[in-house]
């Protein structure tokens, strides 16, 4: 048997890794990968709490399904934006996208 805190610990570590990726990488595609890692960490938490707290309802799994949907939409639109930016600027490094920077 695996206690709940182990799942929470893995999810927290995965979230921290994703956070580091989002904050430190220059390439927009790599930033998007970091966001995916963070979303996965959240999903682990949702399913772990569902399993240990409310396995007789579907609330945790339903939330996780909606996280999947939003992650898919976010990846599709984000990558489309990245491809469009690359076509205009020949770069996907985030510091080269500075037209709106104050």
């Amino acid at each position: 048997m695996v206690p709940l805190w182990m799942f929470l610990l893995v999810a927290a570590a995965l979230f921290a890794i994703g956070l580091f990726g989002v904050l430190s990488r220059r390439n927009a595609v790599a930033i998007l990968m970091g966001v995916e890692l963070m979303l996965n960490a959240v999903n682990i938490n949702l399913i772990a709490f569902w399993r240990y707290r409310t396995p007789d309802t579907m609330i945790g799994q339903a939330f996780a399904v909606f996280v999947f949907v939003v992650a898919a939409a976010e990846a599709a639109v984000g990558l489309a934006l990245i491809v469009a930016i690359y076509r205009r600027r020949q770069s996907v490094a985030v510091e080269d996208v500075n037209l709106l920077k104050w």
Binding site: F7, N27, N43, R51, A62, A72, Y86
Partner: protein, 177 residues
């Protein structure tokens, strides 16, 4: 703590998840990072199986590993001039490392406090026995039940349609008419 097969399987999948995630963040070659992301997502799918959510594990494999990762690999190849950049990290990477480590330390501290305090029984207890007879059917019913998640379900489908149309419009080549 007693070492069981379940615990060993958990440790293997947790290691896959975290090692894959670290590889994604640290890899210099972006294509390698995408492949390591696949490994990490597979570890998460294994954790879902251990948490008695096999449907979500299947969705994870189909949508994340089969869909989103392939999309990311496409994007990596379409922006191929960027695969081997010399500086993969920005100038503020040290600050980013401090923030991430501080966040991790905060969560671990909170977990430790909760485990010491009133939630000790919850944190150490095994998952409750029983549960639903057929969780996959219950999930399907809950998603189309007006009293439960029918409205979010419809909103999610509208969001997907909007994202689909928006992605096509944004990524379209303006030169080609």
């Amino acid at each position: 703590m007693e070492i069981t097969i379940e615990l060993l399987v958990f440790l293997v999948f947790a290691l896959l998840t975290l090692a894959g995630g670290l590889g994604v963040v640290l890899a210099r070659n972006l294509f390698r990072a995408a492949l390591l992301l696949l490994l990490s997502l597979f570890g998460v799918a294994g954790l879902f199986v251990l948490l008695a959510a096999p449907f979500l594990a299947a969705v994870q494999v189909l949508i994340y590993m089969g869909g989103i990762t392939i999309l990311i690999i496409f994007a990596v190849m379409l922006t191929r001039g960027m695969v081997r950049a010399r500086n993969v990290f920005s100038e503020q990477w040290d600050l980013a490392a401090i923030v991430s480590l501080a966040f991790l330390a905060l969560v671990v501290y909170l977990l430790w406090q909760l485990q010491q305090g009133s939630s000790a029984a919850l944190f150490a207890a095994p998952p409750p026995e029983g549960g639903l007879e057929n969780p996959i059917a219950a999930l399907g019913a809950a998603l189309v039940d007006p009293a439960q998640y029918m409205l979010p379900f419809e909103v999610a489908s509208v969001l997907l349609a909007g994202a689909l149309i928006g992605a096509i419009y944004i990524a379209r080549d303006d030169e080609v008419e």
